[in-house]
Symmetry: C2
């Protein structure tokens, strides 16, 4: 593809390639440029197709460990305005090869405008929750699966009385017979509304709307009709475009959950966590993105967590910033330290540590106090 | 979870865990059983929830390489009848940990009945295409992206004249402005119908219906209304349940494409390819499952390919078998050898090797002859 790239028109994509020799690295890089576009050998592509559609390898530099940094320019029309096809272009077929990591994407303005990003973002969530820029936000989860709707609603009520900003369903609670979505949604939203009225609070309830594509519209409509401000979605399970759908058709804020994404996060092959949980979820429209904080039950490094924070908050065309939401084993005691490190434009997600204290209303108040709220 | 497992009621799931000590392996296994269900520490779960909902570690055996084979029983109600939530239960959060591979699932009959499997399967595809059990099936792809609908239709016409069983869109062709879905669909289906009439053929055209969830119903309805027998879907991009949707609501056969799945196929962490491309795609309803054959442009071993074949064809409750569809660099010359190895219940997917020969009608006839068709 021959493209004038200033102002940037192409999607510029950075991959790290494992290769023992320059020759093999060159073959692999040009192989990606063909595989992700025309899926034909170079010689069987017409000059017109080659010029307009085949990826353009514009950089290939070794570093010290048999790794090569490669940049390929793609025609943004390959995505056809759909995140599903964008993902396919970035990593669809080459996911099945070995030793290729998708590191970063440099987006043309046109694509950013098409996908649109968060409808609310950090400033919108702050405005809705009346939390000033100097202070962090808080989130907790209703669990465990197996709990009946009226019991989940009671938990939601107690968290809301404690003043948590967002109480979301655990992502393991979907539409099981023990707590069907609609019944749970009504009960929990009503409980939070009641607690807010009593305590003059602003807690929001985000139900887990993750669902098969054929049921997603129903779940989103029900959440909107119940008066929810937003929903929880696991985009790697129900599709990256589901975030846009919730935003555009149902006017819902979206908190993105990383379920299943971890299968991609190998160092030598896959997708960089900050690209997926940071840039891609933000571009798709997530107002908040949950990730497993360093030191909890999962394996992210501090560097990875800070890179995700950066992707969610850095300038990106005209897109709003999104809330980094570290969780997965964070405790009430640790939270203030994490906010000192990550900055106040962060939402701490604390579940287990609040449950462990028995009186969850008191535990939530204690958390808020510790955070200066 | 305490379950009577004969007749099997639980979902029995096998993981391989990397661990240097028995103590760490035990901790990891019981950690999975909690993480994938209640997401709370053992001590903060009531006796009732623990008995009914927490996973039950029933096996943990070391092999020679610091690997432990672990079996966990899950309550099938965790899936709530939805493949999205089933995936989340099998690997959602633990995907974000390290050194865990999801190897195999032993399905309760109840779940197999719920998800249903292929509507046509191998015998149904044979019946529709009039190919006897002793002979293999053939498939090719329309490409490259950037080609206009009337040119793609001309390719479809020439492949159909050659007698290929299925001509599908390349998975890189979605809904780009250069060949919008509906326009392409009409042109290609019409071309194949015309060629079939001329040559007394039975070629089927499968358009790529992979789309954002909000557009999937439109694409599937359009394929059905155009008279297509089936569609191509990339379930790892548009959701595993999209296969069931195509099957149940639109009466379409489904060929599943492995785009993006490869990010999961690390040896030490992720999902076993035969479970994902074999068992899961089949259970969701795929009539054929494409995988990258050994020796082509991708990295699967012969053992992996044969394991996928087995998952697609082995007895599995009352489910129909599905067609293994090896592709990704197979040539006309190699195809007969692969059929001798894999057996006739196979569909060979050959694209580039047919294009390379210039006259694609003659090349397709040559392929069919080589396969005894």
């Amino acid at each position: 593809m021959t493209m004038d790239n200033g102002p940037q028109r192409a999607i510029a994509v950075d991959y790290t390639i494992r290769s023992a020799s320059r020759e093999a690295a060159v073959r692999k890089a040009y192989g990606i440029a063909l595989e992700q576009t025309v899926e034909l050998a170079h010689d069987h592509v017409s000059e017109r197709i080659r010029r307009n559609w085949v990826g353009d390898v514009v950089r290939l530099e070794p570093d010290s460990e048999e790794r090569w940094h490669c940049r390929i320019l793609y025609n943004p029309e390959l995505a056809g305005g759909e995140l599903s096809q964008l993902l396919n272009t970035l990593f669809g077929n080459i996911s099945l090869q070995d030793g290729i990591r998708l590191d970063a994407v440099h987006w043309p303005e046109e694509l950013l405008r098409q996908f649109g990003g968060p409808a609310h973002g950090i400033s919108g969530m702050r405005a809705r929750l009346c939390v000033p820029p100097s202070l962090p936000l808080t989130c907790t989860a209703l669990k465990p699966v197996g709990t009946a709707p009226h019991e989940l609603a009671e938990l939601a009520y107690r968290f809301a009385l404690g003043g948590v900003d967002i109480v979301k369903d655990d992502h393991g609670i979907a539409n099981q017979p023990c707590a069907p979505y609609r019944e749970r949604l009504q009960a929990c939203q009503e409980a939070v509304t009641r607690a807010n009225a009593l305590a003059d609070g602003r807690t929001l309830y985000f139900p887990n709307a993750t669902a098969p594509p054929q049921r997603l519209a129903d779940r989103l409509a029900a959440a909107r009709d119940a008066g929810c401000f937003g929903v929880l979605l696991s985009p790697w399970i129900c599709g990256l475009d589901s975030i846009r759908w919730a935003r555009d058709e149902f006017g819902l804020a979206v908190m993105a959950h990383p379920a299943l994404t971890g299968a991609c996060f190998r160092n030598s092959h896959g997708i960089a966590p900050d690209l997926l949980l940071g840039a891609l979820f933000r571009i798709a429209g997530a107002d908040a993105s949950i990730y497993p904080n360093v030191g909890g039950r999962f394996g992210f490094s501090l560097e990875t967590c800070e890179a995700i924070n950066q992707r969610l908050r850095e300038p990106l065309g005209g897109l709003r910033t999104a809330l980094p939401t570290p969780g997965g084993g964070m405790s009430v005691g640790d939270a203030p330290d994490w906010i000192r490190r990550y900055g106040p434009d962060t939402m701490v997600l604390i579940g287990g540590s609040l449950y462990a204290q028995g009186d969850i209303t008191a535990a939530t108040r204690h958390l808020l106090q510790a955070l200066g709220r």
